[in-house]
């Protein structure tokens, strides 16, 4: 498994635990009514589960297992791929902090743009690697 996949999949496992922890907290609050303010964590829970856990896992596994290029670098430009992962994560946390702490819509807006750039950049690479293992010019 390439280093990028190792890091991204492990990051997805951290997001899994974080997302499940928030989910458990929300469910306990639903049952016991500890504090209505806890409901503000619902979009954070969804963000972490969808973009943190599921999408990172999908990206890590796709980067590892999809057919490689015939020329070096076999899995695409590593610096570019790392940049996309970093942009995605900055975007996720800007969205989360924007949802939680700030009344302005600007922070989540920029966060969503960074997420979109990260995803599009990464999946442009995966698009090129989505081909028959034998085909040189699909």
């Amino acid at each position: 498994m390439p280093e990028l996949s190792v890091k991204v999949i492990r990051l997805s496992l951290i997001y899994l635990v974080l997302g499940f922890t928030l989910g458990a907290f929300l469910l306990v609050n639903k049952a016991t009514n500890i504090d209505p303010q806890i409901w503000r964590l619902l979009p954070v829970h969804i963000e972490i589960i969808v973009f943190g856990w599921v999408m990172h896992l999908v990206m890590g596994v796709a980067y590892w297992s999809f057919p490689r290029f015939f020329e070096m670098p076999k899995r695409g430009n590593a610096l570019f791929n790392w940049s996309m992962i970093i942009l995605l994560n900055v975007g996720i946390w800007m969205t989360i902090f924007g949802d939680l702490a700030f009344s302005s819509n600007m922070l989540p807006f920029i966060g969503r743009i960074l997420e979109a750039i990260g995803f599009v950049g990464f999946f442009v690479l995966i698009w090129q690697r989505t081909r028959s293992p034998q085909a040189r010019h699909d």
């Binding site: 496992l13 951290i14 899994l16 997302g19 989910g23 458990a24 639903k30 049952a31």
Partner: protein
Amino acid sequence: MPKLSRWFIKTGIIYLVFALFMGIGMEFPNISLLSTYMVNLFPSFYHALAVGWITQLIFGVAYWMFPRYSKEEPRGKESLGWLVYIFINAGLIMRVIFEPINGSGHRSMLVMTALVISAILQWLAGLLFAVNTWSRVKGRNKKNRKRA
């Protein structure tokens, strides 16, 4: 494919079908025999899809296909894997039963306790899966090859 992966994936498929029927039921809350229950199914519906179907499918495939942990324990601790399976399903079933009851206003100590236990079980399942899978997410260096 190992037995535990088959259980995860087949249970996931059952949840998918179950969730689709829940979706149909939610579209007709007034003609359903359990109308007050049906209108509060929304969170359970999404968790049946997200946890029951997608997460269990991922757990099953990851347990099957990720790099081997060691020659003796290729897929990590199998007992831990089964605990994850039991915890996530027990927690989710309790949630699907009791969350709509809670939502429809029939709150009691039983409902409250069941939801708290459900939350703890699902959280433990996520944590144990991450612990068991962490060491299997690794590159193919010499040290790892020797151990596998």
